[in-house]
Symmetry: none
Subunit: 205 residues, 4 copies
DNA sequence: GATGAATGAGCCTTCATTCAT
DNA sequence: AATGAATGAAGGCTCATTCAT
């Protein structure tokens, strides 16, 4: 027990938190944050409403935690796959396909993530500071990759910060298409398409 | 009267509707759809709450109408500017810069438009059928432009439907960056950047 | 209308506020602040719960307003009757009997007033500043009367501030006895009793 | 064991009860009955919430028991000190100063006791019958003292029952002033003041 | 006996919508 | 047509109490 660093209590607690998050993920994705009620989440999790509040201080916090977890997961996968790639082109390809694949397996996460992202547009102040950090962290990842590509002569000289965002946005858009069912291609095809356009746009030769 | 196709009553009615929409545009953009109240809108419009319901059947419908109007305005400007351009490259440039400029002058519209767009991700069912039409209409515009470019030999042979969406998404992303204040470049610079990457990605030579 | 200084709307609004306060007075007195619900008040007033919130911002504020109004009423009656008395003894008598009479006619007010007063003991911080002012205002009234009595030679030289409080407390206690039904004497008898003990205690001769 | 009249189990049980009561005393005094939670009490006592319910059937009953114990303690001290005094004047003085001293050393008890006393005003029905007995018991104590004083010729002929209550109320008021921090005198001074006014009011000569 | 996770009834407050004037 | 008072359903959150371990 001590070896694992967790007491039985903590394990149970994390299990419950996990169940609630899982229920919330489905409910939020199905109804949207505003239309989802804490009762919905409790019902889906098979527990009483009050129990939810033993594990989370507020409805909003459930949402935030959900995004945070998915975000970190996505981020670490992306980092891992990009690190495994050698050339900048392959790193870009890894970035795109990791996200595309993740969106297929974690569709609900992306629904929440993107809608939260866009809600920022309406009310930026709502963005918790931590979210801002997460976004920045992501942007840096691509920006540095591109900057290295420039130094290596693999990528055209350009405003890497702006292009990094552009890469994100284009990828995000393609994923959104898939989620909305507007693309009937498989993930690989979509990833290739995005990669090719972008790489031709920014790569040398 | 009949000549104009509108009775005096209709003119007055449209005037009021317009005032309410204008008020709603500001309120929704400032607070977000969920946090905005019908009272806020009525106050901003300088009328009584009940009056709002003489012109619109529900809060939701005000929002929808707002998006629709802005959407049609944006669409017609885009069409006009693209038609004025000769080459596909210039049409693409026109597409991007028209939107970028519009986002500067109608920032609130884009805030609503994009957040609504993203809410589709969470709850597609909410999308009124007409919205679907509007999106499709837009997509077609770019798709046909690209297809013609392909026929003319200006654009690489490719899945024009998918690329059309990609162009939209990339442009949307760049505009979102601007709205969020994450870009300090002026509209022209951002438009050029997006154009260059995309055109290098899809154009011939 | 202008002559009265009130529009019809204001009259109606005040009427409603009054109805709600009246209902709240009965409900609070019957159940205590904590056990009373806004629904109880709305029901008693014969209106919908939401309507209550058109006239008062919160349950707490209804309570505060209730106390404030009764307080001011009691205070003005007390001042009037004390002013009408010539000697300090008569002023003291007026003070006591005004309150005793008021407690008979506005029993619910005293129930609330005294229980609020005592809740101060448990949580002084809750006392809204305005309440503090009201209490001080009251204390000053008796203190000045006693001070004048001292100057006139009608009252023994003494700590008038402390005695003023003592007079209040003794009167309050007698009223509480009546409200609790522990006194079967009529108001006049109780008032005389309190007066005699106090006057013998503080008056000259 | 039988000699002591208590089994070991009972001793332990009483110890725990005492701990809970002590914790509750602090919590109730700090937050007021309504705002205090059973969790607060359990935390302060260093036990689990459920354990509280092994010793008390409800939150309310903890409160009642708390009042009862303090009450009996106060009562027995008062009786003892009054018995030690010879003259009625000294007995009255003993009554007042015993309470005044007790309020300094058991401030929390008085906060609860007085606020509960006043809550009776709002909801007399809540008063458990036993409380009624406690109050009566107290009243009798002073009443009999005064009656004896009358017989001895030390006290004026008067309605001893009513005066007994008056003495209680005046003392209570002075203590409340102290608890509220409205008196900066020391306990002795306050006790003297109350005694002098009352004794002049009821004593012979 | 002790625990504390779980419960769920209940409360205050908000606000889209209605309707009498 | 315009008003805005009134409505009441709904939701987030609290907390006294219970009960399986």
């Amino acid at each position: 027990m001590a070896v694992l660093g967790k007491t039985k209590k903590e394990v149970v607690s994390e299990f419950r938190s996990g169940e609630i998050l899982e229920a919330a993920r489905l409910v939020f994705a199905a109804k949207g944050y505003g239309d989802a009620t804490v009762d919905d989440i409790a019902d889906k999790a098979g527990i009483a409403k009050g129990t939810v509040y033993l594990y989370f201080p507020s409805k909003r916090e459930i949402f935030v935690e959900l995004i945070r977890k998915g975000f970190l997961d996505l981020h670490s996968r992306t980092v891992k796959n990009m690190d495994a790639a050698e050339t900048t082109a392959d790193k870009l390809r890894a970035f795109i396909s990791t996200r595309m694949d993740f969106s297929d397996s974690s569709r609900e996460f992306f629904q929440l993530y993107y809608s939260e992202y866009s809600n920022l547009l309406a009310t930026p102040s709502k963005l918790s500071p931590e979210f801002q950090d997460l976004y920045d962290q992501q942007a840096k990842l691509m920006e540095e990759t591109l900057a290295r590509g420039v130094r290596r002569g693999e990528v055209k000289k350009m405003n890497t910060a702006a292009i990094a965002r552009l890469v994100y946005d284009t990828t995000r858009g393609a994923i959104a298409q898939r989620i909305l069912g507007w693309s009937r291609r498989d993930a690989k095809e979509d990833a290739d398409l995005v990669f090719e356009v972008l790489w031709r746009g920014i790569g040398c030769e």
